[in-house]
């Protein structure tokens, strides 16, 4: 049955068709057609009850109304910052796992790092809310230590959103970093050291070039997940979250303005695609290889 797929005779075609059908159905009915439909939806405008005409009005609104592109830019910039912070935080732990810890200790540490991510994001965010809210654990601790006179509200700040985003994204950075660092030959580092290179030079000219594929893969995935996140910014950011996915949700669900929401969706998709392509270009890698790493 399976070898038949490479068999030129008719039942070979049949088998190929059978294998092809689920894939085409999945991609066609759940990915391609819905997105084409979304594009069509975003390109029309309501002119009267149940009357629509083709127009670019939804996109015009986006550019004409400062708040929409303001939120859009803010989401993009915060996502970039969150990605870089995640990289900075994840690199040392990946190094410890891949290079410093010996034998079982390394894989044990690796597993320990993965455990929190088996639990859903909702639960993790609940934890941060209990820690940071005005009546929460950290503000109470700050008062007890005499650092603040009154409990301070630590939720609803940009820094809080970043902490939440970095926390949620860590895993997707650590995994590709560890696998790319593991393959780095220790003797290269030793050689460089013997030749008199300092720690920083080794990092710059040996470690980073070698880990580049892992770094790119991690950054791309983290950036995408951050950009498309909804839960963490809305819960930790509260009234100040201003995340673009929230605008999409509002247009769709609160304002029942699907046309506007569809246009926003496309803009977000365009942004995420553009930055992924940019990331690949800068590091000279192929999309398929990157995705398989994570």
């Amino acid at each position: 049955m399976l070898k038949a797929a490479i068999d030129p005779r008719w039942h070979g075609r049949l088998a190929l068709g059978l294998l092809l059908a689920p894939a085409l159905l999945w991609l066609g009915a759940l990915i391609i057609l819905p997105h084409v439909d979304l594009a069509v939806l975003s390109l029309r405008e309501r002119v009267g009850p149940r009357q629509y005409v083709a127009s670019l009005a939804q996109y015009k609104t986006f550019f004409a109304e400062p708040l929409y592109w303001h939120v859009f830019l803010r989401t993009a910039v915060m996502s970039v910052i969150a990605t870089l912070l995640t990289l900075l935080l994840a690199f040392p732990i990946a190094w410890i796992i891949a290079k410093l810890a010996r034998g079982r200790a390394g894989s044990l540490l690796f597993i320990i790092c993965l455990i929190p991510f088996w639990v859903s994001e909702t639960v993790r965010t609940l934890g941060w809310m209990i820690l940071l809210r005005e009546s929460g654990v950290l503000p109470a601790l700050l008062v007890k230590l005499g650092l603040t006179a009154m409990p301070v509200e630590l939720l609803y700040r940009d820094a809080t959103i970043l902490v939440g985003l970095v926390y949620t994204s860590l895993l997707f950075m650590v995994v590709p970093l560890v696998s790319s660092l593991e393959s780095l030959d220790n003797t290269l580092i030793e050689a460089a050291y013997d030749l008199g290179a300092g720690g920083f030079a080794i990092l710059r000219s040996i470690v980073i070039p070698h880990a580049a594929p892992g770094i790119t893969a991690g950054c791309i995935v983290v950036f995408m997940l951050t950009l498309g996140n909804y839960l963490t910014p809305t819960l930790l950011g509260g009234k100040n979250s201003q995340w673009f996915t929230e605008q999409i949700y509002t247009q769709f669900i609160t304002r029942f303005n699907w046309e506007q929401g569809a246009a926003f969706g496309f803009l977000l998709l365009a942004l995420s695609t553009a930055l992924v392509i940019l990331g690949l270009r800068l590091s000279g890698q192929r999309f398929g290889d990157v995705m398989r790493r994570t």
């Binding site: 049955m1 797929a5 294998l19 894939a23 819905p34 929460g136 926390y167 996915t245 669900i253």
Partner: protein, 290 residues
């Protein structure tokens, strides 16, 4: 730098300090969630007022609704389970056919198709959700207007939630299963065929057992991802609410510790699942909750 090179004492200390801080950062949120599930107070917040099981066992008579008496929460766990089972089964099946298609099939456009299969991972979940919502309701409207057919499964509800989650979880299943299939030694299969085994027999007795770890691994990941999915689900839910959406609603209201209780329950359940999987030698690196 590496163990074979001399490391100054400050670097060693810094490394250890970093490691401790990192692990604290990692586990602090989960620890508080677990601890406050047992706090004898109406809010999951300090101060500590004593130990209680109320948030698990409480009922209306006690004036506190514990997890096991909260029919809304229990119902949403059940809903999430049904959705996750459907998504897991669908993803495993499609992931397997896709793996054979990509690894064994020869046809024009294969390269393009295998790239396209990765696309769902790059599309933000919210957008997957709205596009499926808009498309499904367009189809349902057309069916209703032209044929007078009411296709309820295309309206927001569990069937759409299943499809929405499946749309990207299928990619992960495909990647996991085809990675294993790629390493399969084809001579085994040829030998069996030469010895007169039918293709079906080869599939059942050689390929399937070989793929088993990948199938189990991808099933576990699919289940967990489906259970934890929020972005896509939020846009597609109807009257039945899965756990994540229910928890989100309650968290915005200012939750009672019953949410901590349900979270602790989830932590234990996923830890058990993860450990069983590790024992069986499955890959712990597989991608968990988004």
């Amino acid at each position: 730098m590496i163990p074979s090179l001399p490391r100054p004492i400050w670097l060693r200390t810094a490394t250890v300090a970093y490691l401790i801080a990192f692990l604290a950062f990692l586990f602090l949120p989960l620890a508080v969630v677990a601890v406050f599930a047992f706090n004898d107070a109406p809010y999951p917040a300090p101060p500590w007022r004593g130990f209680t099981f109320d948030w698990f066992l409480g009922n209306a008579a006690l004036g506190r609704t514990g997890l096991f008496a909260d029919s809304e929460l229990l119902g949403s766990i059940w809903t999430s389970c049904i959705v996750a089972i459907c998504v897991t089964a669908l993803s495993a099946l499609v992931g397997m056919t896709n793996a054979f298609l990509i690894e064994r099939g020869r046809f024009r456009g294969k390269q393009a198709l295998s790239i396209l299969m990765l696309a769902p991972l790059v599309i933000p979940g919210v957008i997957l959700g709205i596009s499926i919502l808009a498309f499904a309701s367009r189809i349902a409207d057309i069916a209703d207007d032209t044929f007078g057919l009411e296709l309820d499964f295309l309206r927001p509800g569990l069937p759409l939630v299943v499809l929405g989650q499946f749309s990207y979880i299928a990619t992960i299943a495909t990647l996991t299963i085809s990675a294993r299939l790629r390493r399969f030694d084809r001579t085994l299969e040829e030998a069996a065929l030469n010895l007169g085994a039918s293709k079906a027999a080869v599939f059942r007795t050689i390929l399937l057992p070989y793929l088993r770890p990948a199938l189990l691994g991808s099933a576990a990941i699919s289940f967990l991802m489906s259970f934890a999915d929020f972005n896509t689900t939020l846009m597609l839910v109807g009257a039945d609410t899965p756990l994540t959406v229910m928890m989100y609603g309650r968290m915005r209201e200012g939750a009672t510790p019953v949410l901590n209780a349900v979270s602790l329950f989830l932590m234990i359940a996923s830890a058990v699942l993860a450990l069983t999987l590790l024992r069986r030698g499955g890959s712990p690196r597989a991608k968990p909750a988004q």
